[in-house]
């Protein structure tokens, strides 16, 4: 039996579901599914400019595993760009390291460190939602 995949740590899931190409005549039929860990690998390497070793530590995976995830992300992205596909960011084997909360009144997202009761740091309201 194949070994089950280890969960990969990500810091924050994107607050959108994907991308759609524009300026095309026909409706777009193809769809590329980018997993949350693939999104995170691109963010760490190409946006935060971390090397593979540091990025692998952040995602709590080995460096070869990280390289495979990153390579897969780049291939999918290239496919979507060349084949004019919709990119959906969903699924994968990821756990979110930090829970982000949202206060509807102040319209902010924030983290809570330790075991504190989740309260808005600005208005002190307990009427907050978990940002998933």
């Amino acid at each position: 039996m194949a070994r089950t995949k280890k969960q990969r740590s990500i810091q924050r899931a994107p607050n959108y579901s994907g991308f759609k190409p524009f300026g095309v005549q026909k409706p777009v039929e193809c769809e590329v599914k980018l997993s949350l860990e693939e999104y995170e690998s691109m963010k760490l390497c190409d946006y935060d400019m971390l090397n593979h070793e540091d990025a692998a530590n952040m995602m709590k995976v080995s460096r070869p595993t990280f390289t495979r995830i990153y390579q897969s992300a780049r291939q999918k992205l290239a496919k979507a760009l060349v084949e004019v596909s919709v990119i959906c960011i969903e699924g994968g084997h990821a756990t979110i390291d930090i829970i982000w909360y949202m206060c509807a009144h102040c319209r902010i997202s924030f983290d809570i460190s330790g075991n504190k009761t989740p309260l808005c740091p600005l208005c002190g309201s307990g009427n907050i939602t978990e940002n998933k």
Partner: protein, 104 residues
């Protein structure tokens, strides 16, 4: 509570910067003394670990809350260890609007 916000300009009307590490200025506001200060981001000229340098400076200013549009992975790690709360406001929120949200 001491709040530090990543800003593109050194005035209250400046919007909160999207990037924590690469912003031009930090606005530091003490909600108890109402004291307001602007400091240049020390990490802006650095090629790497800019965010870490900026975060260390804010921790040395005893900041409780850091405000920016996005925090890099290393900065998140440092702030979590230093017990600094990270806040992401809506896009284009000015520093003044943010300060006004604090419960009087």
């Amino acid at each position: 509570m001491i709040i530090a916000a990543a800003l593109s300009e050194n005035n209250l009307n400046s919007p909160v910067d999207v990037h924590f590490s690469r912003c031009n200025w930090f606005g530091i506001y003490n909600s108890i003394t109402k004291n307001l200060d602007f400091i240049v981001n020390p990490g802006i000229s650095m090629d790497e670990d800019a965010g870490l340098k900026s975060a260390e400076i804010l921790v040395s200013h005893s900041v409780n809350v850091a405000v920016a549009g996005r925090f890099s992975a290393k900065v998140v790690e440092l702030f979590r260890k230093a017990n600094v709360q990270m806040v992401i406001p809506e896009t284009n929120t000015s520093f003044l609007e943010f300060i006004n949200l604090i419960k009087k």
